[in-house]
């Protein structure tokens, strides 16, 4: 019940974000130089033909009214049709969503596992590993995903031929090839995320180790294993969850580049193509989808936080 209330409250509080983004997009689009009606009817149409098309497109109405009509259509699942392919935008987006979700889910798992392991090792062992994690954090954030992706292709696909150069095989077609086609994209997506997570894990584990209750447990004979794996980890997980949320949102952004490099038909590469082609309805739809994903990620973070922290759970 408390969880349900939390979900509702979070969803309500993220509505402004959705409206802001869609309104922003809408206003920007209305600034497009050139006249869509003129583009459709051509240079030689009569004034009446032109006016008819303008009315059909709703362009004769004031901007807020146009936005309202757009919103109403969106709520009916109608995001318009692609100017480029003529397909309904919703079906274009729905076809592409699974690709991005595979990539981002795999990227989250890989960077989460690798980052937490590295951070833990560095906190436990100290010495060289501490330096290594610091260097990784600096470099991981400095190396752009798209360039790192090319390096991975040059080594892992062109030279060693272990993985396909580009392309994406749907899971339903061939699970093994699906996995192989994801390895390099996931690695390039994860580099900076691993860096951030490893550093955060190390810092919050060390921070937790310095807290009073850990000393009390040591003094009263709790086992090392339990202190580290039950008590320190559980407490260190809290700040980590927040960071994980930020990382997930940054993965959404990085997916634009990674999907483009690997020619994966996902939401990110769609946004890039639509930008190049000035396919406005598709852009609007993609932005809406991505914003909804951001809202969902933040919701998941809040839920995870409230599961983990008894103080929030009770509130």
């Amino acid at each position: 019940m408390a969880t349900f209330r939390l979900v509702v409250r979070r969803l309500l509080s993220s509505t402004p974000l959705l409206f802001l983004v869609s309104a922003l997009t809408f206003v920007l689009v209305s600034l497009v130089p050139g006249d869509p009606a003129r583009t459709i009817v051509g240079q030689h149409a009569t004034v009446e033909q032109y006016e008819t098309v303008r009315r059909q497109l709703g362009l004769d109405e004031p901007l807020p009214v146009q936005y309202w009509h757009w919103l109403v259509r969106v709520f009916h699942g109608d995001l318009g049709t692609s100017l480029f392919s003529g397909e309904p935008v919703t079906s274009v987006l729905n076809n592409r969503l699974p690709v991005s979700l595979s990539l981002i889910t795999a990227g989250t798992i890989v960077s989460g596992v690798l980052g937490v392991l590295l951070g833990l090792l560095s906190a436990r062992r100290g010495g060289l590993l501490v330096k290594a994690v610091d260097v990784l954090a600096l470099v991981g954030l400095a190396v752009p995903a798209f360039w790192f992706a090319l390096v991975l292709i040059a080594v892992g696909a062109v030279r060693l031929r272990w993985f396909p150069v580009t392309g994406y095989v749907p899971l339903a077609d061939d699970p093994v090839e699906w996995g192989r086609s994801l390895v390099l994209p996931v690695l390039s997506l994860s580099l900076s995320a691993v860096a951030i997570i490893a550093k955060q894990t190390r810092d919050s584990v060390l921070d937790t180790f310095g807290r009073d209750f850990i000393r009390v447990m040591q003094a009263n004979g709790f086992s090392r294993r339990s202190i580290l794996y039950r008590h320190v980890l559980r407490n260190a997980a809290l700040p980590l969850v927040t960071v994980l949320g930020v990382v997930l949102v940054s993965l959404l952004a990085a997916a634009v580049f990674v999907e483009t490099v690997f020619a994966m038909p996902g939401l990110g590469s769609l946004t890039q193509q639509a930008t190049v082609q000035h396919d406005i309805p598709v852009i609007q739809g993609a932005v809406l989808y991505i914003t909804i994903l951001v809202v969902l990620v933040n919701l998941l973070v809040d839920l995870a936080y409230s599961r983990l922290d008894p103080r929030v759970r009770a509130a």
Partner: protein, 643 residues
Amino acid sequence: MKQPTTPSAPRSRNRRPLIRRVLVRPAGALSLGWLVLLTVATLAAPLLTTHGPLDQDLGHVLSGPTADHLLGTDNLGRDLLSRLLFGGRSTLLAVGEALAVFLALGVTLGLASGFLGGWVDWLTVRTADLLFALPGIIIVLVVLSVFPGNLHAAMITFGVLGSPGIIRILRSQTLGIREELYVAAAKVAGLTRQQILRRHILPRLISTVIVQAALFAAIVVTIQAGLGFLGLGAQPPDPTWGGLVADASQALDRAPWMLVPSGIPLVLTVLALGSLGDAVRDAATEGWSVSRMTAPTDAPRTVRDDRRPAGTVTTNSTRSGTSALLSVRNLSIDIGGVPVVQEVSFDIAPGETVGVVGESGCGKSVTSLGILGLVPGGGRVAQGQVLFDGTDLVASPAARTQVRGTGIAYVSQEPMVALDPMFTVGRQLGEAVRRHERCDRREARSRVTELLDMVNIPDPAAVAGRHPHQLSGGMAQRVAIALALAGRPKLLIADEPTTALDVTVQAEILTLLRNLQADTGMAVLIVTHDWGVVADLCHRAVVMYAGQVVEAADVEEMFARPLHPYTAGLLAANPHRAREGEPLPTIPGTVPAPRDWPSGCRFAARCELADDRCAEPVTLTEPAPDRLSRCVRSQQLLAEGTS
């Protein structure tokens, strides 16, 4: 015109200018060097290159580095060094545009929000929070789809989208500074808002602004290259860094070398901006948070001067002889190479309660943790023995681990942070019980109830289901004591167990400790600065000053006739003995920090009775049977008393 005088902003002494402090750091100097070099080379590109960025040399396409083409050529034989330097110009411009917007918005709104408060603050924070949640690159793509190829629009947008980060930081810093005393004083002195902002607030924010600007510039460089790579920036054949990477991607199989000149300068630039930001931050905050206790600096001057041959102090073990449960002998503890506890010795007999008394900073807590081998702050036991039931815990880590919980248990000062906030009381107690008793869950549960009963918790079953944050301070301390009792210890170390509690609760906890000791027969070592606690509970007291034992005696004898001026001063300052209408006597001065310990008597500077003899190291003597004192006048004090 006369300016009102104002107190000046607090400044650390001997501070060199920020730029010098950044440059003395290798990372700072290297980063700044690279950025300056790159900027100059980019601006002077026409002078530095022999080939134009668009000149094609079709006889040498996709070549590696040669004397003619230092970084090689691309698929049209164009010189990569030239394209890199000319391409850097668009990067520079993009960073300039985005930074200008970022700083203009960020500094103005951050300052206004923090300084003015009210609706300005409310609106700014709300908007910033909304923008913060967006993936900026997506919005930039929308802008580029509307204004094709217009990188200026993209960079200005990106500057806007990046500003919430700096707005939040500057807002909270401004809020902090505004509340500080000297700004309040400046206001009283009649300065205008602009003057306060310009003179007192802006100077303090400069390093933060530089740090944020450097980190943001790093992101802009990446994003600008990314847009170029996606074909959304300047159009071919104009060179951009991102475009170079895109060219390289077309020739991955034939000329993987191209990845190097197209990517490495980009990575180095982002790296340089990032570590420049870190260097400025470190330089700006250097010396602010270095704890005196833990700083690993030069060895203190006086420490070893007064060292006597080991063993002279073991006299006080004569009292209980070999029958002592715990015998601490010549225990010295270092933290960060600085001795904080020196040659402390005392014994505790089975069932005995001993109080360790002294002001804060005398090494009481460190000593009690040192017994368990848990010195905080990376410290270590430098020498000495801790004999528990005849086994030296310093020499044997295995015995030490073994004894924790079952032989010696520990209760800390702050009950509210002594329990893991994530687990229920029952889970934590259950874990301790199962660890020590090796029993199954059912037995553990009934033992948990029993333990909670022992510490007088009214409804054990209900409390076991609660989390620490749902307990009151007194309740939490009872639970912490129950946790310590789980291993049926022979000795309980309680480090100021009542200091953090309300007075009424203090009395309850003390009564509980006394009853527990009577019931279980365990010995108790209680660290305290409260003579009431000593009088109430203890058989014997050990007084510590500046890391040394200065007096040890039976409580009644000590109260009747203290044999060290420090003990006498502490007793006189005891609020329990205060007489109505008279000011409470205090000991002038403060306990010296470990670094400042003199070679002679450490209390001499605060002592009314000090004379020339006190400049020499003073040893612990036994002026009367079972009484120890570290004072040159101990015989005199024994005969005459302190008053």
